[in-house]
Symmetry: C2
Subunit: 157 residues, 2 copies
DNA sequence: TATTGTTATACTCTATAACTATA
DNA sequence: TATAGTTATAGAGTATAACAATA
C-alpha cells in the first residue's frame, strides 16, 4: 500500500492569528497528527474511524454507512479493502438473508488496540504543550463548544 | 465533478469526553464545516487550500509542493485539474527555463474571494456558540497552543 | 551532473446508477 | 414492490519511479 497518503501538515501560525484561523489551523494540526500516526500502520483516517466504530459494534452495511456518513457503495469498497487486509470480516445475518454484518477480526482488533493509545498519546502531547491550567481551560472550552454544537444539531432536526 | 466528497461529520459528543477526544472531535467538526462549504462550490479541501495559498503568492511548482506538503507529482495533478477549471494558470519563468510559476486566474481569485468569507463565517458561527468570555478564553488557549507547537517544530529541525 | 517539472502507473476513497437477491 | 448490498464506472487525490528539458 505504497500509495497511502503521507503525513502532512499546514502552514505554521505566523504573526497575528484571527480566532477563526486559529481554530482552522488547530483542526489541521490534529488531523495531520492522526493521519501521520495512522499512516505508520498503513491506515487512512477513514480506516482508523472504521476500526474505532467496530470496536464496540457489529453493524450491518447500512448502519455502517450511516455511522460513517458515506454512501453504501463507498462502504462496500471500504470493507472490501479492509477485508482484503484481514482487518474485518463480513458475516451474513441469520435473521435476514439480505443483511451483512461487519465485525473486526482478531487482527483488526489487535491493530485498533495498538493504534488507539498512540493516537491518544499524540493528541495528549499536543495538549501538553500548554501548562496545566491553560490546558484545562482549553479543554473545558472545547467541551462546552462541542456540547453547545450538539445541542444546536439536535435543535435543528 | 459529481464525485466530489459530500459533506460529512462525526459522532456527536456523548456522555463523558476526554480532553483528547474533545480535541479530535473539534478538529472533525471544523474540517467538516470547511469541506461542506467548499463542496458547495465543487471544491475539495486541498483545492481551497490551494486557492488560499495563491491569494498572496505566485510560487513555482516546487514551492507549492512544499507549501502544501505534497509530492511534486501530486501538485502537477492538482494544478492540472485546477487549470482545467480555469482557476489557476501556469506561467513559465523567464529567469529559469525549467521553472513554472502558478497564479490565480481572475476567475480563481473571484472564487477565492467569494468562498473565504463564508468559510470564516462558518467557523465564526461555531465559535459563537460560546459566550464571549468563554470564546475569548478558548481562542487565547488555541493561540498559545499553536505558538507553542510552532516553537516545538522549529526546535526539532 | 543536478534541478525542475511532467508522465506513467497504481492504489485509496468517493459518488451515481444499474443490478441481484431477499423480504 | 421495497430493501440490502454489490458492481460498473468515473473522477479526485495521492505516491513512487522513470523521464525530459534546462541549468
Amino acid at each position: 500500500m505504497a500509495s497511502r497518503s503521507s503525513p502532512r501538515s499546514v502552514p505554521s501560525p505566523q504573526g497575528e492569528l484571527s480566532p477563526v484561523d486559529g481554530l482552522v489551523q488547530l483542526s489541521f494540526l490534529i488531523q495531520n497528527a492522526l493521519a501521520r500516526r495512522a499512516a505508520e500502520h498503513d491506515l487512512s483516517l477513514i480506516q482508523i474511524r472504521l476500526l474505532g466504530v467496530l470496536r464496540d459494534r457489529e453493524p450491518n452495511m447500512n448502519e455502517l454507512a450511516k455511522l460513517l456518513e458515506l454512501d453504501k457503495s463507498s462502504v462496500s469498497g471500504l470493507i472490501d479493502r479492509a477485508e482484503r487486509r484481514g482487518l474485518v470480516g463480513r458475516v451474513p445475518s441469520r435473521a435476514d438473508g439480505r443483511v451483512v454484518l461487519v465485525r473486526l477480526t482478531d487482527e483488526g482488533r489487535a491493530l485498533a488496540s495498538k493504534v488507539a493509545p498512540r493516537l491518544e498519546a499524540d493528541v495528549a502531547k499536543i495538549l501538553g504543550l500548554l501548562p496545566a491550567t491553560a490546558s484545562e481551560a482549553l479543554t473545558s472550552g472545547i467541551s462546552r463548544l462541542l456540547i453547545a454544537h450538539a445541542g444546536e444539531q439536535r435543535a435543528s432536526l
